[in-house]
Symmetry: C3
Subunit: 186 residues, 3 copies
């Protein structure tokens, strides 16, 4: 039985929110969604930083390597503008990329706006941590989490993380049968 606790990094990447020009709405929207969705215990490790390459690199790296988060979600910085560097930094610090996350989030967002193809959102793995880029807009955040979260608990299993249980009214995690056994054994 694993006694390791689930720790989730929530990183808002925004020049203006980090300067206090407006409130960070992305980070709280993620935390609220996860609070409703995850029924097993978990801890949020929150960060709010500007769109600065080295600072984001350092922030993500520490959430993985020092804070031991098994999942890190970012919001903001995924567009085509000069300062949008979140996906590039994610790719730079990950050993493995997970292209299916970006594909699915864009497919999902395309149901609402044709400009969804401008999103460069991706996901990757650094060590035992899954990093997922979400959009900056709060309403788009829940669309994307609804779409990709069903696959995340099993991904964390495969990375030897804690067994995540979900509130099925919000989101239903999918695991192959042999992975469900793991829970009964523990």
């Amino acid at each position: 039985m694993t006694i390791e606790n689930l720790r989730i990094g929530i990183v808002t990447v925004s020049d203006r929110a980090s300067r206090g020009e407006y409130d960070d709405r992305g980070g709280p929207a993620i935390e609220k969604w996860l609070d409703a969705a995850i029924s097993s215990p978990w801890l949020a490790v929150k960060r709010l930083i500007p769109d600065e390459r080295l600072l984001l690199e350092d922030t993500l790296t520490k959430l993985c390597d020092e804070e031991c988060c098994q999942l890190v979600v970012t919001t903001g910085g995924t567009g085509p503008a000069l300062r949008d560097i979140t996906p590039d930094v994610t790719a730079a610090i990950c050993e493995k990329m997970m292209p299916g996350f970006g594909e699915m989030m864009r497919t999902e967002s395309l149901k609402f706006v044709p400009t969804a193809i401008l999103s460069r959102q991706t996901a990757g793995i650094r060590g035992r941590t899954l990093i997922v880029n979400l959009p900056g807009k709060p309403s788009a955040i829940s669309d994307c989490l609804n779409a990709v979260f069903p696959a995340i608990p099993y991904c964390i299993d495969l990375l030897d993380g804690p067994y995540i249980e979900t509130n099925e009214k919000v989101v239903k995690a999918f695991r192959p049968k042999h992975a469900l056994l793991k829970k009964r054994e523990s």
Copy 2:
């Protein structure tokens, strides 16, 4: 109010068309489509070159850095054959990749031919220029432009380029509300 003019690079990449073995049909097909679609003023900067890595690298780079095109579209060289190097050169000279463009163009082309998965079309950003690879076949060019162009004017806005207006009978550009305000202010 921006007084900057829209300049669009149109690059045909084809060994045989550049040797005069047949007429370039891709470049003119792009120009014709854009002429019908864009209602604000714009200038075409046309190139016709063989599938040579260094020459394509040089051509794309100059269209971005010296000719100050805000958009560069290529046709040809996106398949799996040995001489097909357009997406690779595009990736090599861009700072940011835009995977959603390739995904959408392949999804669109798959409605017509199962070999659409062989297309390696991509898009990326160099400085303030968006570069988009289109297929070589003229009929596929308009299928792809119909699919991705609705997102391009807003992308150019985000790259601080001129405000592109479209002929809605051909294609309807999409912008979020706050981006539409920009026009009224100008």
Copy 3:
């Protein structure tokens, strides 16, 4: 007329199957599917190896460069776990990537399981060889081959390989008209 013979590398990447802890089911599932699907002559070149980066790199490279396979298919090692390195090694030894294959295989697998986004399957080209990653699970193997194989014979044509004919009851290869002429001429 080409007299070159079709050689297909079939590589099972699995720590446990290579240690004999269980039977390799992926490699035989691929061979059986290809046997039913391809009606022109072909030869299987089979390998069974653990999820070891250097060994997989060496195995794939030799199947391309020394065994002269025009197509190499892998099974296993495409997930997010620490030892899953097949797509990364594929990318490392290929000159060109073919993102459309991974996109289509994930789209196909998503019809069955939401965890399909965890698959990192890709395809690429090394010299004149197409390399395609398939999943590890035998049932998912045929789903993926059904989806992508219609495009493979024409891809091999474009790489100057032998003309592959298929059993249309299993899978129908697609070629544009001008590529069909090649057959009649030979």
